[in-house]
């Protein structure tokens, strides 16, 4: 589905992504983990067209999509969320969702003047769809709240909600879980699995919560210092010495994970 | 065929005036850039702040001259400068207390503050006109020239003269000192850093125990110093007239922006870019070439890229070109 070939992204002298090659298989939920600053977000940004790579290629279904602008990638079915929430702060939560679908009739000036009726019908459908998504994310009561006023976690939910407004082919989730209540995160995990199964979305998920990764991801890729460190099933990764040393550690957390999982 | 004369012509009509003008713009731009850097809005009242400060300096200068105090070869106005800075600082602090503070409290968008500063500009505009009128004033005394054209010719025996004015030298020296001081202050002192922190993230600055009122006050005081100094030096070099100071605003803003808003070094660079581009592009090279080339090759025309009609346009065109390649100015300025 998505193939990243020998990707480099340098900031000045710093090599944030340093020759990473990886593949996200069609129909998979691929986990992407790695220590802070490993270059995961940067990799996402390059794939999603926000940053131009220093070198290397990105392929989608065999087609070279390197350097395409974000909106063009969106139209190809590639969606992403942001690690640091990027809501449309002065718009309501519902509007945040309704603006997402592409090619709305009402986005053409001509239609806004002369095809009011058709637009109204379309709007009703969109609003309904948005309300379904909000329902799912347990924030229906906030539909008319300004998105800027949401709590940290609610903004993350909204990020996710936007990707649910359209039929995507591949969705990149950058730490949707950070700041989201764990019970809700489980529900989100279920949703991801369902979208994956029923609608055939491919996912690539960055997350630091290993429980979450363990539950839904296969395979898992671990990055470190801009390169792919290890790749495999969850179990393989969890037991990989290098991953443990660079990322998981042997401290408190793993003990807890061990005792409660 | 005379290389030296050509050089002198070029120095006299391009290098010296452009450098001095550049320094004047830079001093003005420093004030604009500081307000933008810390308080995060484009202060349209800056030109009139300069005019106000200069007005006070002129009044004090007259007073000093009346009682017979002068400053030797240097202009008396430099003695008046501290007083003028003080009064201007008081005015700015008062303005802040009465006007700007409210908008900080309600967290108004920067553009609102820009409009507010436009209102302040009108008021200050009127204050200056009430205070000293609309006329033109010369308040320069002391030695006008470090070296004048005739003196230079006699001294060197060259056909061309070179004039350097005292005020030009003072302006350049002051500009260099001020930018260095400001840079150091913002980068290396506690207060300076707290000012940058405040501009970056007001809430977090609060959480670090930074007193916002103090930061703002210091900012205005420095602005007063910068504006008054810039205004007085400009007035010494050219003359004082309220309307011209208002007109200065555009090139000053252009300088601050092309250098990168919020960056003192950028202000300096911007000032010189604007000044040099204004002067160079419309300069007629005829006289220089007449010296350089053999007689039979001497140019008939003016050898001028564009007529001076377009000097303003040209400097803006250069500004736009710079921005196209460096979208936030040469020194990576901030955005609001």
């Amino acid at each position: 589905m998505i193939v990243v070939e020998n990707l480099h992204k340098h900031f000045g002298g710093f090599h944030a992504v340093d020759g990473a090659s990886l593949e996200i298989r069609q129909g998979s939920v691929t986990g992407l983990i790695g220590p802070n600053g490993a270059g995961k977000t940067t990799l996402f940004n390059v794939v999603a067209g926000r940053l131009a790579p220093t070198s290397g290629r990105v392929l989608m279904d065999g087609e070279d999509i390197t350097g395409l602008p974000p909106h063009a990638l969106f139209h190809k079915g590639l969606l992403r969320t942001f690690q640091i929430a990027h809501e449309f702060s002065s718009m309501t939560v519902r509007e945040n969702l309704m603006m997402v679908p592409a090619g709305q009739l009402g986005e053409t000036l001509w239609n806004t003047w002369f095809r009011r009726g058709a637009i109204a019908a379309e709007e009703r459908a969109l609003a309904q769809k948005a309300d379904e998504v909000l329902e799912f994310l347990t924030i229906s009561h906030l539909a008319d709240e300004r998105a800027g006023n949401l709590s940290g976690g609610q903004k993350k939910l909204l990020e996710l909600g936007r990707t649910m407004m359209v039929d995507a082919k591949v969705v990149f989730l950058d730490e949707v879980g950070a700041g989201v209540n764990r019970t809700l995160l489980n529900t989100i995990g279920d949703a991801i699995e369902r979208l994956n199964r029923e609608r055939g979305y491919t996912f690539c998920v960055i997350e630091h919560d290993m429980d979450f990764i363990s539950r839904i991801c296969d395979p898992v890729i671990c990055m470190a210092e801009g390169k792919v460190l290890a790749q495999g099933t969850v179990e393989e990764i969890k037991n990989d010495e290098r991953v443990i040393e660079a990322y998981l550690g042997t401290g408190l957390k793993n003990k807890i994970v061990g005792t409660t999982a | 065929m005379d290389f030296l004369n050509a050089l002198v012509v070029f120095a006299n009509f391009v290098v010296v005036p452009a450098t001095a003008y550049g320094a004047q713009l830079a001093l003005g731009a420093l004030g604009v850039t500081l307000i933008f850097g810390i308080l995060r809005f484009s202060n349209f009242a800056h030109g009139d702040t300069m005019a106000f400060g200069t007005m006070i300096a002129i009044l004090v200068t007259w007073g000093l001259q009346a009682v017979g105090i002068t400053f030797g070869p240097l202009p008396t106005a430099l003695l008046a400068l501290p007083v003028a800075i003080g009064v201007t600082a008081l005015l700015l602090l008062g303005t802040d207390r009465m006007i700007y503070r409210f908008y900080r409290k309600v967290r108004a968008a920067p553009v609102i503050l820009v409009m507010v500063s436009l209102g302040v500009m009108f008021v200050m505009n009127a204050l200056v006109r009430f205070g000293i009128g609309v006329n033109e004033y010369r308040f320069e005394d002391g030695a006008r020239f470090v070296i004048d054209a005739r003196g230079f010719r006699e001294m060197t025996g060259l056909a061309e003269g070179l004039a350097i004015r005292t005020t030009q030298v003072i302006t350049i020296v002051m500009a260099v000192i001020m930018v260095a001081a400001l840079f150091w202050f913002l980068r290396h002192t506690r207060t300076g850093k707290s000012m940058r922190a405040f501009s970056d993230n007001e809430d977090l600055a609060l959480l670090s125990g930074i007193n916002p009122e103090r930061v703002v006050a210091v900012t205005w005081i420095i602005t007063a110093a910068l504006a008054t100094t810039a205004g007085v030096l400009y007035g010494l070099d050219k003359s004082f007239k309220a309307f011209t100071y208002f007109q200065l605003l555009l090139p000053i803003f252009a300088s601050a922006i092309v250098g990168g808003l919020g960056n003192p070094l950028g202000a300096i660079a911007g000032g010189f870019i604007i000044a040099y581009s204004e002067i160079m592009v419309t300069y007629a090279f005829k006289r220089m070439l007449t010296h350089l080339l053999p007689e039979n090759l001497a140019p008939d025309g003016l050898v001028q890229l564009l007529s001076t009609d377009y000097k303003f346009a040209v400097s803006f065109a250069i500004l736009i070109i710079v921005l196209l390649f460096k979208p936030t100015g040469l020194f990576k300025g901030q955005q609001s």
Binding site: A48, P69, H71, F74, H75, F82, H86, E87, F88, S89, S90, M91, E95, N96, M99, V100, Q104, L105, G106, E107, L109, N111, T112, W113, I119, E123, R162 | S42, I99, F102, Y103, V106, V111, I112, M115, L118, G119, F122, N125, A126, L127, R129, G133, L250, F253, A254, I257, S307, F312, F316, A317, L319, I320, L323, L324, P327, T328, G333, Q335, S336
Partner: protein
């Protein structure tokens, strides 16, 4: 469109200002202010589209207003045949040559691999083209400008009805905006602002110095009117009879009639534009624009072509300013390039938008009327203020000084009122909901 009582009240208040002016001063004064108020409202609307909808900080409005004004001349003035004969075609040819040079340079830049050869080649093309252009262009310009310089000295226009100049002004401004937008819209906030300001200054420079185009600083006066002349009305027995029958003085009535005719034309344009703007704003298009304004990065990731949309709104907003510019030149009856000053034609418009309430079309319209009224009326208000101050004062230095400075009260009053309005409604009188 929900009708809000407070907003209606505000409009009523501004209307009252105009009515009071009419009663205490004269209806002619009111209508003069009102007509410019209509034009100001259109300008504010255009700026509001760019800033309020899309967050584009354009402070080059002056330039587009001037371009609109130029259109009025180019459309309505009769062509100067002698000038065309003297070098009109050569000027056009020169301009084409200039444009071709730039196009060639751009193509060259795009086709060649980066490197010193490219830079050098481009420089050669540009410099060579420049001299070629000057060689063709300059003599033609001199020839044209020599044709009866006191009265013409320019190519003249097309001699068409001046009402056509309004859409033409919009189109011309849109064309300029498109060129500018293509190059400069990559810039953000204040950097975009100063770039547009610079472009406006360049446009004004051209208008002032290219005499062959519209006589430069010598001004083009006596543009045809879309409405009758007062003197003609006064000479028409029919008109005089009718108005005297109604109990009006013919001179006053003729002034009012003409102004009302203008008002009708302007109001029609304003209403149509407001309607279109409102429909667009309250639709997915408006929502998309707000999304882009709020967060460009996210909007791009959600599939919105930010660059294209920015260009679209920039061009439309500028076109509206161009229309207003053509209307204003029509109303003035002359094109005066020296008039175009950033304070009056850019910042004052911004004040209108911000005071009115950015992001809100009705706010912009209200701001347009209110601020223009103030801009004109602060003069008598300031005078009145100063007179009431000195009234209680004995004769003396201070008194004379104050009376002499009365003219500056205009600025002071403007400043104080602006500050007061912004103080009590910092988000504008009719804020974006």
């Amino acid at each position: 469109m929900t009708v809000n009582l407070r907003n209606v009240g505000l409009f009523a208040l501004v209307a009252a200002l105009f009515v009071i002016t009419g009663m205490t001063q004269s209806w002619n004064v009111t209508l003069t202010i009102f007509n410019m108020g209509l034009i100001s409202a259109i300008l504010a609307l255009g700026v509001n589209m760019q800033w309020g909808y899309a967050g584009l900080f354009n402070i080059g409005i002056m330039g587009f207003v001037a371009v609109g004004g130029l259109a009025a001349v180019l459309v309505s003035m009769p062509p100067v045949n002698d000038a065309w004969a003297a070098g009109g075609l050569q000027i056009i040819f020169g301009l084409i040559l200039g444009a071709a040079t730039i196009a060639l340079a751009i193509q060259f830049w795009k086709r060649m691999a980066p490197g010193r050869a490219r830079a050098l080649g481009m420089l050669v093309i540009l410099v060579g083209g420049f001299f070629l252009f000057r060689a063709v262009f300059d003599p033609a310009v001199s020839a044209v400008e020599a044709v009866n310089p006191a009265a013409t000295g320019y190519l003249g226009g097309l001699g068409l009805p001046i009402l056509l100049a309004w859409p033409a002004g919009g189109l011309l401004a849109a064309g300029c905006a498109w060129l500018i937008g293509k190059t400069a819209l990559g810039l953000r906030s204040d950097y975009l602002a100063i770039a547009t300001l610079g472009i406006a200054e360049i446009i004004i420079s051209v208008l002032k110095n290219e005499d062959w185009l519209a006589r430069g600083v010598k001004n083009v006066v006596g543009l045809p009117r879309p409405v009758p002349y007062e003197v003609n009305l006064q000479r028409s027995p029919e008109f005089v009879e009718r108005v005297t029958a109604w109990g009006f003085d013919p001179v006053t009535a003729s002034g009012i009639t003409v102004k009302l005719a203008y008002a009708g034309l302007f109001a029609t344009v304003l209403l149509v534009l407001v309607l279109l703007a409102e429909l667009a704003l309250r639709s997915p298009w408006g929502r998309m624009m707000r999304a882009i304004r709020d967060n460009e990065i996210a909007a791009a990731a959600m599939g919105k072509n930010v660059t294209k949309r920015h260009l679209q709104i920039f061009v439309i907003g500028c076109a509206v300013c161009g229309i207003a510019g053509a209307m204003m030149t029509t109303l003035d009856g002359q094109l005066t390039p020296g008039t175009y000053q950033p304070l009056r034609f850019t910042f004052l418009i911004w004040v209108m938008v911000i005071v009115g309430g950015s992001g809100n079309n009705w706010g912009a319209v209200l701001g347009g009327f209110l601020i223009w009224w103030l801009w004109v009326m602060v003069e008598p208000i300031g005078l009145w203020l100063i007179q009431s101050v000195v009234a209680g004062m004995g004769p003396g230095m201070l008194r004379t000084h104050l009376i002499e400075s009365a003219a500056h009260m205009r600025l002071l009053t403007m400043g104080v009122i602006l500050l007061l309005v912004l103080r009590f409604s910092p988000r504008g009188l009719i804020p974006e909901k």
